[in-house]
């Protein structure tokens, strides 16, 4: 959200480095980080976990009509990525058009500009993925 500095800043460990959580009780992985295990609730033992950044395309689309802040990036491939630990996240897939990528393809996390505000505003960075060859 534009103009909200802390909103992005507090998510830097997750957005820059894929730091999520792991429930030691049921072996579930959470990205983004959750403090309450969805399966074990209060019995869950949640510890920090840094994801490897490797995963697969679970579903994908190509966005042609962008929301405010991403107009300059269209068209871009957006996917639900299944990380190798099991958690899923939504992210852009870089340097690729839809004809070159499909469900099941391997991907790896990259660090890119996610949104740029107007020339006087902040630049937000974070994870995207690239297709593995």
């Amino acid at each position: 959200m534009k103009g909200s500095i802390a909103l992005h800043w507090r998510r830097i460990p997750e957005r820059y480095r894929l730091e999520g959580t792991h429930c030691e009780t049921c072996d579930s992985y959470y990205f983004p980080a959750r403090r309450i295990c969805r399966k074990c609730r209060r019995k869950g033992r949640i510890v920090p976990y840094k994801f490897s950044g490797k995963g697969r395309i679970y579903s994908l689309t190509e966005i042609h009509s962008a929301p405010e802040g991403l107009e300059d990036q269209i068209p871009y491939v957006l996917a639900v990525v299944e990380l190798e630990e099991g958690a899923r996240c939504t992210a852009q897939i870089v340097d690729v058009r839809k004809k070159d990528i499909k469900i099941g393809d391997g991907v790896e996390m990259v660090f890119r500009v996610v949104q740029r505000e107007d020339p006087e505003g902040l630049i937000s960075y974070g994870f995207k993925f690239r297709k593995l060859h």
Partner: protein
């Protein structure tokens, strides 16, 4: 002293051919290609900048060095295209590679030699035991004014060098020396979108004088000759300048070939020598010597003498520069203009 314990090089996927740019301005592409020796140049994606490219290169360097990023005590990013005028690129990179928070970090700017300046700073910090490891990165998304000669060369890329103690090094830095004067051959004032330059003034009084003087001084200091080195890496604003310099210094052309990546990717500014050196390290064998002389307009040159060690095998831990050079996709001038945010309204 100190040495390179890991290195990483990155070039974005997109390329634009010299022909494509020449077509837009009605220029003779063949004349430009033979004049500059640049066939195509790299173009960053719209969501890449000097910070994101620096992160890719830094992560590759870490993979090779196999060290905990938290042990990095100093991190410098040299660039003439920092994403912010005020707010460091180095902190973004340090966060992304998880070197935070116990380190010192800063941005450097010295036209095309800010990357090698960072290496020298890290050498001092490691050599004096102020830090265990230092990371020096040269990263640029250089902009050339449309239709200017620089538009054919201004490119993007990043090279990262992790500096540590001799014994861990894959290449020991035997010595370094610099040559610096106030020579205004190229500049960009605040708020200006594109740099200005002195045309032919960038040649003799700037590039040739500085690169040659630093090189000669280091050879003299080490009491070495051209024959003592297997590879030479010079700053490469185009292919013609380093080739001419090699000829003048009596260096066989084959000794500069591996360090000359400008024909394939253009001039990556602060990353130019770091990328040329990476391409040499990708091939060099234990015991071989590498000689470097960078150049930054304004003006100065940093010369280095390197000796490759057995740890060079660690380069197999990560992608070589050729992986990124070969993995390419050509774009039209229109797409290039979009990616470089030259379109009004973006």
């Amino acid at each position: 002293m100190a040495g390179i314990i890991g290195y990483g090089a990155y070039v974005p996927k997109y390329r634009i051919k010299t022909e494509e740019i020449a077509e837009v301005w009605g220029e003779d592409a063949e004349r430009i290609k033979s004049g500059l020796g640049i066939n195509e140049k790299s173009v960053p994606a719209i969501d890449e900048d000097s910070a994101t490219m620096a992160v890719v290169a830094a992560k590759i360097a870490l993979k090779r060095a196999e060290i905990d990023p938290k042990k990095i005590g100093a991190l410098y990013v040299g660039s003439e295209s920092h994403p912010y005028a005020v707010k460091p690129t180095a902190t973004i990179v340090a966060e992304a590679i998880d070197a935070v928070p116990d380190l010192t970090a800063a941005d450097l700017e010295f036209a095309c030699k800010a990357g090698t300046a960072g290496i020298q700073i890290c050498m001092g910090l490691v050599g004096s035991s102020m830090v265990e490891y230092g990371m020096a990165i040269g990263s640029d998304t250089a902009q050339g004014r449309p239709a200017d000669a620089l538009e054919y060369s201004a490119a993007a890329g990043a090279g990262a060098y992790l500096i540590g103690k001799d014994e861990e090094s894959l290449a020991i830095i035997e010595d370094t020396c610099s040559f610096t004067t106030d020579t205004p051959d190229f500049w960009r004032r605040p708020k200006a979108d594109f740099p200005s330059h002195g045309g032919r003034f960038t040649g003799e009084p700037a590039y040739f004088r500085h690169v040659r003087s630093a090189a000669d001084a280091l050879l003299k200091k080490l009491n070495r000759t051209i024959e003592d080195y297997d590879y030479f890496v010079f700053h490469q604003p185009n292919a013609k300048f380093p080739k001419t310099l090699a000829k003048r210094m009596g260096i066989p052309q084959e000794k500069i070939t591996d360090g000359l990546v400008v024909p394939y990717i253009g001039n990556a500014y602060s990353a130019a020598v770091p990328l040329g050196l990476a391409n040499v390290l990708d091939k060099a064998k234990e015991g071989e010597r590498i000689f470097i002389s960078s150049f930054g307009s304004g003006a100065g040159s940093d010369a280095f003498s390197l000796k490759v060690t057995e740890n060079i095998r660690k380069r197999e831990n990560a992608e070589n520069l050729s992986y990124f050079i070969d993995n390419k996709e050509y774009v039209s001038y229109a797409v290039y203009a979009k990616y470089r945010r030259k379109l009004k309204g973006l």
